[in-house]
Amino acid sequence: MNSLQKAINSTSISRFRFYFQIAAFILLLYGGYLAINIGDELPTFACVYTDLRGGSCYLLGFQHQMAAPFKRMFSGRGIAILIGLATFVGFFVLFNKTWCGFVCPIGTIQDWITKLRRKLGIRYSTYSEPVFQRLSKIKYILLALLILIPMAIGNSFFGLPKLNHDWGVPFCMICPGRTVLPLFSGDFSQLAVDFSSKTKMIFTVLGMAVTGLFFAGSFVKTRFFCLFCPMSAFQYIFSRAGLIRLIKDGEKCTRCGNCYRACDVGIRAIADDVDSKNIVKDDCMMCFKCIEVCPEGGCLKAKFLTLPLYESTSAGFFKRMDGKNNGQ
């Protein structure tokens, strides 16, 4: 191990992540002011409803595309869909789930809410882990719905009538990104309930309810919304191809559970699974806090292809914990 790597492994990635998140937040929400736009196929919740954004979420465009009749989907239009998907996958494969841990504005806001709670000295709530894990399967249902509902606009399933265009982007309607992120550019219009049609009214009311849950939930439970995020489910399909990887050497693991304690999304396997090498699970957001709290040298590693990025070392562990114990 060279000295640069040693120095990196002794640092706190959480601090780096904190500043990186701020930078990413500014770029994605205000990038337009600097005439920056990194694309509309981002695998992260940079909301289209924000005016001068520096890039936007793939899900809106994807839902739009799914609304095309099958006939058109399998014609020339299909190429556009495939290009969109390929761009999304390309963005994702490059950085894997670090999109969630380092970039996603909704994730960042949740982390800020957690910071606020800690500052106020309010404790987190405890809950039954198995129940919560079962609840988190909801994200797959949401993913299925955000594909199937738009499809039912352009096509008729089982002879049922086609849905009208108010059903166009069902997930966006209930996504807290739509209601919360425009607030940062001074746009409060998304908080309104839309009475123009029954469907829209139900969706906007639902959206407000989810927004309420988002704030309440993430105040008592770290990264509460992420457990239900269909983007995370969508990404997970391609996660094995990700170039950044979180790797575990089970032989070095003592199953002390430090990583599980630190994990904001409560992935148990990170501590208990000693057989898998690739330890990225569907809820993982690649924040690498687990690496920070692992005292066993080389047990947990983040790598970009073969290049080691960050690795657990016992020296780094003791240094970081010492800082923490001294109130830093």
Partner: protein, 426 residues
Amino acid sequence: MDNEQLRRVRKTTRLHLAMEAEETLQRIEDFPDKPAAMNYFYSMFRDTYIGTPALPMAKKIIATMCMQVPLELILAADAIPLRLCSGANAYDQIGAEFMPSKSCPVVKATIGMLHVNQTLWGNSLRSIVIPTTCDQKKKAIELLGDMGYPIYTLEMPSSKDSDRARFYWQEAVKQFAIDLQKFTGNRITTKKVQAAIAKIADAAGLFRKLYELRRSTPPLILGTDLFLVNNAYFIDDIDRWRQAVATLIAELEERRENKVSATNRQAQRILFTGSPPIFPNFKVPILVEQSGGIIVADETCSSTRLFSDSVAYDEAGLNDIVPAIADRYLKPSTCPCLTPNSDRLRKLVTMARETGADGVIYQALSGCLPYEMEQKLVNQTLAEKGIPMLYIETDYSPEDMGQLSTRVEAFIESLKARNKKKIKTK
């Protein structure tokens, strides 16, 4: 027993104890080329076992009878943690009065020690904390309570994998933290717990360095010396201990520079596991190192297991720190009281590979059923990996020394022969 008789028994027992301790220390010091920094530990044990014991009377003592007791909390309550587990044959014989003759000598000796020294503690002993680990310790809770000792039962689950077990233990530790405040009259605050965690983490950091130096090639320190160093942690003041160990590490690092080895190059590298060697019962480790072996690592609760893990919490509040402390004591534990205990098997295989051990010596103190019963699985697992193991059943009495030394020597000779063959076939 009336006071007069008890005083007589105490006097003779202390004489026996002093002889036992001196014998063990002599045999350790007989090894050539000891690091000078070891003298601190030799004299510390001499002072403790020979002559009248000096208790840290000024402070409140929270005694423990197992490594599962969270020391961080005891330190945070401004009390002195003191591990009572005894390795003395003299006390074992006294304890035989209270427990069946076939029961574990560690528990027997500890009960014997507490029986003999009943009047010595005075007001400073606030509590003896006994986790509900093995059956013998569980029953010791009742026996010692009957003697009039302030016993605290720390409820521990017999399994660690489920969330149920984890929460149960976390609740037990939380309650322990609350009760500690009552025993000591001191409040446990976040700041104090953090300071205590930092202290113990520092000790663990030092231990890790020592572990590296011990397993390096050639080994820089005898395993017996290391057992002594780690045993000292039971009873020594943690700040003094850290200082002494830091000095030892500095000296060992110097030795590494100068290529001084603790033993000859043919010494067979041994991984020691099983029932804990507790001073003065270092019979087996000393035999191993006298017979041409060197203990490069151990997997016992009186040594490596004490330090191999450290507390990591996420939020700086007692609501997160106390459960984090609880987790550190349960989740990585490889105590044979837990079932399943597959982590111990995994750990042994990893340690054997990491330390380049030629063989494993498994000590079971007769009566220590969990270790006796786990022997078969351990043997099987190691055999699968091609690591030879010697199983030794012994106790605190010196009677089986002759028989043991023959077996240990034969085992080490067989390892040597095996290695020669390996080199030839290469």
